[in-house]
Symmetry: D2
Subunit: 259 residues, 4 copies
């Protein structure tokens, strides 16, 4: 509503409201909302993203995700790579009464509008058309399930990045056509791709930027304000391995935060 | 995905995918997706929307809705007023395999990003922060139910607009405070508000712009190209009564379109 | 509850109730509940059902279905054959607030307990163990969808009955083993099976009992009490074609009954 | 199906099958199915159940529950009192592919048919009509949630039993009418009821049978066959406190059983 809402005269049409369905999420489960770009292959072509990774595009995704986290305080960790971002809400959140549709669509919408809103801070090229994203919402009953979910996404990031890094080296530096590069990579495993990168293009995959290899983790951290004893909460980006035990030991507050 | 997707090595984490739930919508029902602005009262204050209606804001909503309809061809009619818009998809649409989450989140996301994308074509003032919208999805089994849904929204538009028109006349022209205006309107019915407008402010409510009183209906129509015999489909805005039989007789194709 | 329920002291465990989920059915749709026997192949073997059809078993199914219809007045028509029965509730029923779980489980439970309760009225052999049934609940938005559902079940009845009639003729009268009969029927169409029955066993399939070929339709009908002008509602079994228009013309009240 | 199923000719009606909805339960959660008698107040009146507790009725409920557990091996513990029974399935069960409707309706149906089937082993009076039960299915993500669920039901059993014991003492031994007894108990707490029982009827509530006060827990236990070293699994009834830590220490296998 822009301004005031008139007292609803109960019209004979009101009954249609009863066709809406409830969607209260099971309590005591981690809530994951993942947004995923629609047709970003084409979108990235049209906006001349750098290959295999466009750092501006990744920073823009991260910026949009930060906007979402600033608004929804019950998000305790987010993880993104490529054109997708996952937001994890506390197990005990009561936001919007745990109505799944509300949670999912608000996060998706704010992410989408922020992406467009922040575009020109990251790209010189004008945005040619508005991109959009779908969203899904998933429940995980245990901490282990949640960690496995995040590990799954980070493994996915790694697999795709190694593939793309090798593919575009073959095309852009090796002079292969897309089809030739695809064929060349068909059936290769991790070691094969590392070898191609190293022996043919002098690229040590390990030296690639962490943000490409690991994606971006967004966490809330308390930091001390300079020149004062006050603490404030900030959202910080990390590009680390989150599969190992070490990450969860260092950031143990993620799994234990209560409202 | 930006570029290529690597062949998925089946990691031990893959099982987490099985926690996603299905949400196939019942076949042979009208599908309504309604997007609704979050905190638009505050948003309109911050961007100094004109009261009681800001024609720029309404045109921007309509523009974003047109973007959605251009993309999703199975939307046969849309209706919007204030900060909400409803999109109706054909009963027999098989878009996204009738997966409700996909339909709802794509429409919501494209509407949201289009709103920001088109902002500066409608407003001189800079957008201060990205607005966002929730979405819901509702099924209606019969044509009658669907018409009643649209009638419900148009009645809602009317009730709110009459209230706001009177309220802001009392405040902006009558010099009342917000509280005084609220109190004055408490318990009044339609005739009372019409009378206040006419006798105190010389406003005949019937002469108010149709877009304020009726909201906006977006329809697809075939029109003949000038200087040729070709027809093309365009999306046209109407500001008419859609509650009466007349509307549905004139636009009888809405309810009968098949894929 | 057997007797009284004590005033619930709100214990700290009460919160677990919030984990239950809602399941309100979409309004204005036909509600179909179908119960289906679990492992009735084995059950019929153990209780020496006659092959290919045991009239006692069919009558028992019908009896259990009548018990269900006597209790749930919003069921307007039921259809059963073999070990399954479908119950159709009025589109506008508000029974149990349209909570799907309640509707489905009550019908299923009453059908199951009635089956055992009425067993000895139909069988001399003692019931060796309690049989059981699953249930599902399905919504149909239009009369056409509902009719097609019932037609689907009746076509299914026909196909299975023709198959079984021919199969058991080959085995019981033709002396084939089960495997030989199966092989013989593999790839045959309706005409082939009719031909086998007629030429080899002198059976004209058309002369088979209607209850075998068509299953059982249960309808509510008003009948005049003898010696009086009073009408009363009774549930009557029919063994007719319900696919044709004729059935729905004669029994036109089924689709038009309102609460 | 009684016998064979004919090869389905794909009729034009088959499409109606697509209106069925999925209902796969979230993995890694405890599954609780609770059955609950419909109108058992009336049922118990008609069959002259003893007040405040009819031991035959309780034993019959337990018998029906055992039948269910014998069939569904993934049920690790059950709990019942009065006219309700809860069945808990292993977190990792894959029974019926975790389709909730199947699980719920099969358990409910087998419980219902077993209740009728076993009636005459417990009651001399003839069963006058078939009773029936509803069922609901609830997910609990953690062991703590599950324990709290069971505690909730046992607290409920206690509260109701204390109330009924006192109520019927007042009526049957004290000569009060039902209304007078109700009024007398209005606003009383546990200590009050204990006092009434003791001072007026010389009943020490603690000496009441455990099955009345605690309900019935059904567990699977390995026992050694007499005269042999073989173990076999049996289902045993317990009437104990399951709220305390002690119960879960002794029967620690309940929460740890894996498939």
């Amino acid at each position: 509503r822009f301004f005031h809402r008139g007292r609803m005269a109960k019209s004979k049409f009101e009954y249609v409201k009863s066709f809406e369905s409830e969607d209260k999420l099971l309590p005591n489960c981690w809530i994951v909302v993942r947004v995923d770009g629609k047709s970003f292959h084409k979108f990235s072509e049209k906006h001349e993203f750098e290959k295999p990774n466009d750092i501006r595009a990744l920073h823009l995704m991260n910026r949009a995700a930060v906007k979402v986290m600033e608004h929804f305080k019950d998000i305790v960790i987010s993880y993104g790579d490529s054109d997708e971002f996952s937001f994890i809400l506390r197990k005990d959140t009561e936001i919007f009464n745990r109505r799944g549709f509300k949670i999912m669509t608000y996060i998706n919408s704010l992410f989408s509008s922020s992406y467009v809103y922040c575009w020109k801070q990251h790209f010189d090229v004008k945005l040619k058309f508005p991109p959009f994203f779908d969203a899904r919402i998933i429940l995980y009953p245990t901490d282990e399930n949640l960690r496995d979910y995040l590990s799954w996404r980070q493994v996915d990031c790694h697999i795709n990045n190694l593939y793309n890094t090798t593919f575009w080296a073959l095309v852009l530096k090796g002079g292969l056509t897309n089809q030739e590069a695809e064929k060349r990579l068909c059936g290769t495993v991790t070691a094969d791709k590392n070898e191609i990168l190293f022996s043919e293009f002098n690229i040590n995959y390990n030296d690639e930027p962490e943000i490409f290899k690991k994606g971006t983790i967004l966490l809330r951290k308390k930091i001390r304000s300079p020149n004062s004893d006050h603490f404030k909460k900030v959202i910080i980006p990390l590009h680390e391995d989150l599969i190992s035990e070490k990450f969860w030991n260092i950031h143990s507050e993620i799994l234990t935060i209560k409202s």
